[in-house]
């Protein structure tokens, strides 16, 4: 897993609430068996016209936001599906930090598994950062995860909250599966004590009913 410590990058503003996972990566692009290469499909409905050409007015099609590393958006970012393809596409494009007043639960959790830092800030702070991001000369920001701060173009620092375990996971990366497998004895013990109402599914279940 990619780790996250600090990031200095251009921020792009997407001032729309309820950006859903279909908008981030539409259904037609889910037919992949890999994790990579989805960056060109990110926001495809907003980014490209019917012929597949770039829409010049979409923020990520303009300089300097074409190389944005931070995305600032509004409430309930990432609502909809559980597809991890959404954070894969964001990361593949190069967006490593998303700032919004709120996130949808599954999307929020998925970010941490993919080296993306989702930052929740009050709406008025998000609005201020969005103004910065809309001005090419002020759009570059510095994110410091250990210090939990965002530094604006004028040097002003904004603090953000993050759960300690999630911060650790981003800072050091972690193999959660390996950690859980260390608890295999506890898992086996649970299985032995649990009632067996959920019996094993036969491998030929497809032959039912």
């Amino acid at each position: 897993m990619q780790i996250f410590t600090t990031l200095t990058a251009v921020a792009a503003a997407l001032p729309v609430a309820n950006i859903d996972t279909d908008k981030i990566l539409s259904g037609e692009h889910l037919k992949t068996i890999g994790r990579h290469g989805l960056g060109t499909k990110l926001f495809s409905m907003l980014r490209y016209d019917e012929r597949g050409d770039e829409r010049p007015d979409f923020v990520l099609n303009r300089d300097p936001w074409r190389s944005a590393g931070i995305l600032i958006s509004l409430e309930n970012f990432g609502c909809g599906s559980s597809r991890e393809h959404a954070p894969w596409a964001l990361a593949d494009f190069g967006l490593r930090c998303i700032i919004a007043p709120s996130f949808a639960d599954i999307f929020y959790a998925n970010c941490f598994k993919n080296g993306i830092l989702p930052v929740v800030l009050a709406r008025r702070v998000v609005d201020a950062l969005m103004l910065d991001a809309s001005d090419g000369r002020r759009a570059r920001m510095h994110i410091d995860l250990p210090a939990q701060t965002i530094t604006r173009w004028n040097g002003e620092q904004i603090e953000f909250d993050i759960a300690p375990d999630r911060k650790q996971a981003l800072l050091f990366g972690r193999d959660e599966i390996a950690e859980t497998l260390e608890k295999a004895a506890a898992i086996s013990c649970w299985e032995q004590v649990a009632s067996l109402i959920a019996v094993d599914i036969p491998v030929d279940i497809g032959a039912y009913p």
Partner: protein
Amino acid sequence: MTHTDYPRTLFQKIWDRHVVAPADGDNVVLYIDRHLVNEVTSPQAFEGLRIAGRTVRRPGATIAVADHNVPTTDRDRPIADSDSRAQVATLERNVAEFGVPYVPLLSRAQGIVHVIGPDLGLTLPGLTIVCGDSHTSTHGAFGALAFGIGTSEVEHVLATQTLIQRPAKNMLVKVAGKLPNGVTAKDLILAIVGRIGTAGANGHVIEYAGEAIDALDMAGRMTVCNMSIEAGARAGMIAPDEVTFAYLNGRPMVPHGAAFERAKAEWLALRSDEGASYDHQIDIDAADVEPMVTWGTSPEAVTSVRGRVPDPTALGPDARRQVERALDYMGLLPGSSLKGLPIDVVFIGSCTNSRIEDLRSAAQIVRGRQVAGAVRALVVPGSGQVKAQAEAEGLDRIFKAAGFEWREPGCSMCLGMNPDRLRPGERCASTSNRNFEGRQGPGGRTHLMSPAMAAAAALFGHIVDVRELP
């Protein structure tokens, strides 16, 4: 098992029962009883196992099926789209390699994963059930704790049969009274999503209770729990009762005979204790609910079929921009009425509304009538079992005689990963759960509604109030 002396919610009981060990912070290692796997969100998870040299810890707790990509016609021929074909082939290779139970495409049990779980009796009260799909919340209708997960978590469950989770908050949605005639579970959940908003239940598990919930059949309860995710909830759940037990009894994977009676005794304890506390409570009066139709590009953009599209000029700047954008996309005029709005396509299907009860309710409207002129109308049963049952009841003949297409089971036009898609600008009366821009195909315009309402729209070629049918 945790013993407590304070009153607990249904969610807390299932949660406590499944805690294997504490993890860091508020997190716990939570045991997962059933893991449903589809072709879209699992390839990278199996690949992860392969790279790390890991195995599936408990294949017998896992079941895989292809549903999103599958064509709904010509099942005996190879899948035409090469990417879809590759995804299904990859699933087949993975289940064979890792020994995971699999329901093949040509099996009668095949269907949308959230339909076949209950069909086969895999979904039981008190279980923890996960799937790499947000509408896993559907299974909560049986008093299970069921929620969607990302692909990294799919890999974690495959390898360990557990998840690292932090507890959710509890929300009670209490629906008093009776739903009026012509008003269904779909209308109820659309009204709830409209009331609390698509982020209204973020961080919460919703428990539905009250007279109107008790009165729902299992299909209706599944419809309600299914769309909990459209209110931002992690899961939805309903305490099991005699309706649940009657549905379960006799299904292939449900305990039989004396074992069923023993299980039932355990299941009866699966209800929130008197005095259990919720972080939020929403009260709804069922008598106020009407047939609902979405007008916008978010499930919360919904109103009664007698209602009108909002006028953005009357709103604050944020809402105004959003509504303007939605109306522009949907090709609707501010303040226009929903009734009478012409539609091009009707889709009856999806994990929200493709069960036998849904098809019966649509067929009852359609019987002896004809689909209007240019309307393209599809019925896509949720599973092979639903399809066979419908055919045994003659529902397929009713639909076909009226001019509906009768398809093979799958997700189909719910998200258009297969060839069933809207063309740009087409307007669809759909029984699915999401009306996001492009959800049913780029440029497509979705109006969510109940199966009865969608069937009625097919007959008239425009949106009608099902209560006013002759």
